[in-house]
Symmetry: none
Subunit: 233 residues, 2 copies
């Protein structure tokens, strides 16, 4: 069973943070992380009701710290790109699909929720492994953040236990860095490089690579590089 952290990135209104704490506890989630939050006063505590312990034990971290310690980082977004040509926000998963994807993760899953007014920005979403979206009505797709957290927590509440060891953050990052170098080695057009790396991250991010799989992929990259350097052999 993964450790699930609900991460509020720069929440603007403490009332929503209190409400979020309450709905988390309703579904049995206890780990709240706040990135650059507003001051938490009496209003948030009132809204949290019997979940004020969640607020009191919430960690305040930077986004860098959140990403560094997570095995899988999930961006949630309401602002969908409908086009496959935008790999920043595509493909995206429904809450049900998200449950299937993370159920086998043995480690920390951080689920990011953005600011009330404009969500997560592209740079933040780019740094996440996968993207999840709650299917909403096109007529009014923007949910209150505590409602969105409620739906996600509701879906994730009954998770079966995971079984195998997944590649951790360090191993995944090493793989992405290796791939970046590799694209350089094969003179992949510079203007395409950033997109290709992001796309690789999106593909690999949703596979929950095991340690062995990650190391096999790097082995193939290494062997290819060796041959690029020793064409005569």
């Amino acid at each position: 069973m993964p450790q699930i952290d609900i991460v509020l990135v720069e929440p603007l209104y403490e009332g929503n943070t209190g409400f979020a704490a309450r709905v988390m506890k309703n579904f049995g989630f206890h780990h709240m992380v706040l990135v650059d939050p507003p001051k938490i006063t009496i209003e948030a505590i009132a809204r949290a009701s019997h979940a004020k312990d969640i607020l009191e034990t919430a960690e305040i971290l930077t986004l860098d710290e959140v990403i560094a310690r997570s095995n899988l980082v999930v961006a949630t977004t309401g602002g969908l790109s409908k086009s496959v040509s935008n790999p920043i926000r595509m493909p995206y998963y429904s809450p049900t699909e998200l449950r299937e994807i993370i159920k086998d993760v043995d480690g920390r899953v951080s689920i990011l929720f953005g600011r009330e007014n404009w969500g997560l920005n592209n740079e933040e979403i780019r740094r996440c492994d996968i993207v999840a979206t709650i299917p909403t009505s096109p007529e009014y797709p923007i949910m209150n953040i505590s409602h969105a957290i409620g739906v996600i927590c509701y879906e994730l509440a009954h998770l079966p236990r995971g079984e195998y060891k997944l590649a951790n953050r360090v191993e995944m990052d090493a793989l992405y860095v290796h791939f970046e170098q590799f694209l350089e080695n094969i003179n992949h057009p510079i203007e395409k490089r950033k997109t290709t790396i992001l796309l690789a991250k999106r593909v690999l991010g949703r596979t929950n690579l095991t340690i062995r799989e990650a190391s096999t992929i790097r082995g193939v990259l290494r062997r290819t590089e060796w041959h690029l350097k020793h064409p005569e052999l």
Copy 2:
């Protein structure tokens, strides 16, 4: 598809009523019914945000009127009787089960949500056809009413998700064949080759690659092969 009415029975706080309107509209529900509501003022309208039309068109009815005009009346309750010997609140259905039950109803389904402090009373629940409950943590089972409405509407919404085109079988097979040739090109040890191909298939098989992703991967393979053949460039 049934006509679904979200009925708030004696809601105490107008702010919650506004929040409820918002989350209803997020999931495409427009019919709110209020039984003996508080005065709706600026606070409810602010909380409803872009769903103030839901508040403005909400019907104010008595519980008798609601029941008389409905084909199916659903009580929602957080205060579960754990004993099967209490038929007032048993058996109860999860939101997912509720969706299955009402999907074939041709007529009006009224879903009742009770007061913030003590829900629906036994007499009210007794008058309903079925009982639904959102599975919550025993540690803190009482949800804010707008969060409960959010989860129920989310389950009942069945909104089509956005579409993106996945790579089909032919494209995936072409990718595997390409990868096999590639391993040959880099002299991947013969005894390892079969396992490596299988592993690639397992990894890629679970990613649901989009067409664009599959073609980008093949593009990188092709460029690498070109460099293997033209080491001087």
